[in-house]
């Protein structure tokens, strides 16, 4: 028995015989599928970007404070850790963006909501998210390489 909660699912029939009660579906017993992962990640990235938005707020605030605070802010955003956070922000943004558009399509048309359609579309969405993120970072790195020359 792999699941510890299974202990609580032991019951008895009306004739007293031991019977295993059915286990209600929990997050842990579902097999992960693309649509489910994307749905969870949509919420996670939304919450993460709420914290990440401080970075954009700080950028605009420092620009309004003057050249020195702005230089300091550039030091943070150009640091390796800052760059990692920005990369995380970008992939979170594209996931939330693409899945947000998917939600708007679902809400406005009421179509593509069958189980197999949702799974087909999830694969398309994952491809779109990865393409957009890689495209953006190709542009960023391309610009940096051109500036170095």
């Amino acid at each position: 028995m792999s699941d510890i909660r299974a202990t609580f699912y032991e019951g008895h029939n009306s004739d007293g015989a031991l019977k295993k009660r059915p286990m209600s579906p929990h997050l842990q017993v579902y097999k992960p599928i693309p649509s489910m992962i994307l749905s969870i990640l949509n919420r996670v990235t939304g919450a993460a970007m709420a914290f990440g938005s401080t970075l954009v707020v700080a950028w605009l605030f420092s620009a309004a404070q003057g050249p020195k605070p702005f230089k300091k802010m550039q030091g943070i955003t150009r640091h390796f850790i800052g760059q990692t956070v920005i990369f995380g922000f970008s992939i979170s943004f594209f996931l939330h963006f693409i899945r947000g558009i998917r939600h708007l399509i679902w809400d406005s048309t009421g179509k593509r909501l069958q189980k197999d359609e949702i799974n087909q579309d999830s694969v398309i969405d994952i491809a779109a998210i990865l393409t957009l993120t890689c495209g953006l970072w190709a542009l960023i790195i391309g610009k940096r390489l051109r500036n170095k020359k």
Binding site: F61, A63, P67, L104, L136
Partner: protein, 137 residues
């Protein structure tokens, strides 16, 4: 005493009296505003990413001149308003899913307060960039 729904002096309609009294309070408004904000944010945030890409190696002066252009400051203000409203609504959906009672109330107030503070801070920064002369910044 006459019950209020039979009282001819009460001018409020029956619909008006029961509005927002359901379990969801103003759930439809909440849901609809979140979608409306999202629809506005989608093009604005792509515009903002393109602008950030252009400004990625800019000096302070360039950023100030960029932010002073009316079209840029107006689009920035719109993006900030929609984003923090969408953020507030989205985060409160999360707290409403996973918390109960006083904790939920406290978290929702915290979310509203933080969103308001961050939004106002950003808006005042944008206005300062807009209205201060570049050599004084």
């Amino acid at each position: 005493m006459i019950p209020s729904h039979q009282n001819p002096r009460v001018m409020r309609s029956h619909l008006g009296r029961v509005r927002c009294l359901g379990v969801g309070h103003n759930a439809f408004e909440h849901w609809w505003t979140e979608r409306l904000c999202a629809t506005g944010m989608a093009p604005l945030s792509i515009w903002f990413i393109i602008q950030l890409l252009r400004l990625s190696d800019a000096e302070h002066k360039d950023v100030v001149y960029w932010a002073k252009k009316p079209i840029n400051s107006v689009l920035l203000l719109a993006l900030v308003l929609l984003t923090f409203n969408h953020m507030r609504l989205g985060l409160s959906v999360i707290t409403e899913d996973y918390t109960r009672g006083k904790i939920r109330m406290a978290l929702n107030l915290l979310i509203k307060g933080c969103a308001l503070f961050m939004g106002l801070l950003t808006i005042s920064s944008i206005l300062k960039l807009m209205l201060t002369s570049p050599n004084k910044l």
